[in-house]
Amino acid sequence: MNKVFHVMYDDDDTLKDAASALVAKGIRVKDVFSPFPVHGIDPIIGVKRTRLGIAAFMYATTGTTLALLGMWYFMISDWPMNIGGKPSFSLIENLPAFIPVTFEFSVLCGAHGMAITYLLRNGTLPGMPASNPDPRTTDDKFVMEITTEQNAMSADELEAAIKETPLFELSIKDYK
């Protein structure tokens, strides 16, 4: 039978110290639930920096390309018009007038692409059920999730190690 430990702390610094102590003993912390971003917890429990920034850059460059391609088609290729003598026959020569829309459309694609990717990767979408183990983790409590499945130690050894940290509450559940 696998067991999952939900260890609750009442302070973010206590949580960080406890996580460091447990990780030093070779225990793997599966996840941490906190009401706000606890700075410095990521390297301790092995959360890597997200690559969303790279994704945003790619979405934005897609936007740039689409905007330029669109304006080339509308204004240069499909229906060139003489508007105030502006060079309607060349994308490069007419580019200064196209910069604002190119910029706006790049930002539009970058921002929305990133936001959508963020929501999808998180699995946070309208109507999704919440998965925090205790409602107090969105208020003022911090919960560490440790499973026997991810650790070589037995449940009793884990429990003993966890109880050495200054925890606030501990709940142990079975799961298949």
Binding site: S34, L52, V101, E104, Y118, P126, P135, T138
Partner: protein, 459 residues
């Protein structure tokens, strides 16, 4: 742990814990609506309904019911448009630019400032929409395949740039605001006891659970969105100014317009934030989070941007003479001495002289003075747009087509109506949404909370 200098004023007053922050923000949402709120929302809803009625009358009859004429083809409506867009600049400036500069005082005000931005941009978008007269063909501003040739929209025109700028600004601001709201909705969801409210906030919170990886992504998304929203703030009002600056109308055709409009927008936006927040902090008892120091910081931004606006007014005046262009000089002489000189002098007094009072520390830190001056600035900035738009075009090159603009009751009704709609939306926000970025505030409690600072000083 990060430390802050002891002499720096705390940002969170009182003996607060993480739980107190949650209680102070979520408490008013759980409790019954206060009577003051009910009175205010009733009044603003009535005004909003009057505004919607005026708009419907306009759409049914045509824009002939406005005071526009052949000479003055843009007046009250575009004044309102630019005024509302300007107000809508403070929110993203506070949340994006101040985030990049790591200004922690933004955390107490960014949520409501962003809400203000979104509502103000909606109000702004109404005006060019209804100015089209036939709003049902407003989709013609988009480059859609059509059966007229196919005839495309003109990408050389600043008016079209504006379509892209305003819609990008609105949707990006909305997304930025909502991504910040998700964790706070989760906090409300976990504290709600009534099943329906719990369900609604559950849906709004998108199932947020506060996992470490999610917070990691959250911070990256906030930072990158702030990074790309910052040039967006500057671009939007620059493009609005180009609606005027790229024309050949004396008084509009000046290269100073983009920076001058952007600082004017930030100036008026901060004034509106002050007006709203000074009422909200009192009504919702948030004095410990939005206190004198926050007001002072915002007043400093008002002095800086107000002074830039003042310098821009004087530069414009000087250059109109220095350019040696007769039409250009006349446009400005007519501004301060012609039939609309009263509006010019209102603008000068409200925007150039009044913000200079904030150099006095007593005035800058006085809530009553700030409230009064913020309204003065709002009025002044409305007149700035009125002066720029109406006085520049009411005397055409040809004296036989000189004219004057007189607003009709429909002009006034629609403007007052948008104020009603705006305040209705803002009051609804203040009642049902977390008005402070409460979870973000918890991250600065240990460095900038009064009790923690005292503890540190005692060590």
């Amino acid at each position: 742990m990060q430390k802050e200098a002891a002499i720096r004023e705390p940002l969170i007053l009182g003996d607060k814990s993480y739980k107190d922050i949650t209680d102070d923000v979520v408490g008013p949402i759980q409790g019954a609506a206060p009577i003051g709120w009910k009175i205010m929302i009733t009044i603003s809803t009535i005004i909003a309904i009057y505004g919607v009625g005026s708009i419907l009358y306009l759409l049914g009859t045509g824009i002939g019911v406005w005071g526009l004429n052949k000479t003055v083809g843009w007046a009250w409506d575009i004044t309102n448009f630019v005024w509302w867009v300007g107000i809508g600049h403070a929110g993203t400036l506070i949340s994006a630019v101040l985030l990049l500069f790591r200004q922690k005082w933004r955390m107490a005000i960014n949520r409501s400032a962003e809400a203000m931005t979104i509502f103000a941009v909606i109000m702004a978008a109404i005006f060019p929409g209804i100015h089209m007269g036939r709003i049902w063909v407003s989709y013609w501003v988009l480059p859609l395949p059509n059966q007229f040739g196919s005839l495309w929209v003109n990408f050389n025109s600043p008016l079209l740039w504006d379509v892209f700028a305003i819609s990008t600004y609105f949707s990006v601001s909305l997304v930025f605001w909502y991504i910040g709201l998700i964790p706070d909705f989760a906090t409300i969801r976990d504290r709600m006891t009534k099943p329906l409210a719990k369900k609604i906030y559950g849906v709004l919170s998108f199932g947020w659970s506060g996992r470490a990886k999610h917070w990691n992504r959250f911070e990256e998304v906030s930072l990158v969105l702030a990074g790309i929203a910052t040039p967006l703030v500057f671009s939007v009002h620059s493009i609005v100014s180009m609606d005027f600056a790229t024309s050949v109308v004396p008084g509009w055709h000046t290269t100073i317009f983009p920076p001058y409009f952007v600082s004017g927008a930030v100036f008026s936006g901060f004034a509106m934030v002050q007006t709203l927040l000074l009422i909200m902090r009192k009504g919702m008892k948030l004095e410990n989070y939005i206190h004198v120091k926050h007001v002072e910081y915002m007043n400093i931004v008002i002095i800086v941007t107000g002074s830039i606006v003042g310098v821009a007014y004087l530069t414009e005046l000087f250059i109109s003479w220095y350019s040696g262009v007769e039409y250009e000089s006349y446009a400005f002489i007519n501004r301060f001495s012609g039939p609309y000189s009263w509006s010019y002098w209102i603008m000068m007094t409200c925007n150039v002289i009044s913000p200079q009072l904030f150099w006095f520390k007593k005035i800058r830190r006085s809530l009553v003075a700030t409230f009064i001056l913020s309204i003065v600035v709002n009025i002044g900035m409305w007149f700035e747009r009125y002066v720029i738009i109406v006085t520049s075009i009411h005397r055409d090159y040809d004296p036989s087509s000189w004219g004057e603009f007189h607003p009709t009751s429909v002009d006034v009704g629609i403007f007052i109506g948008t104020l009603g709609i705006f305040f209705t939306l803002f009051l609804a926000f203040a009642r049902f949404f977390p008005v402070l970025a409460l979870n973000e505030l918890k991250t600065i409690l240990k460095t900038s909370g009064e009790n923690y600072k005292k503890q540190q000083a005692n060590h």
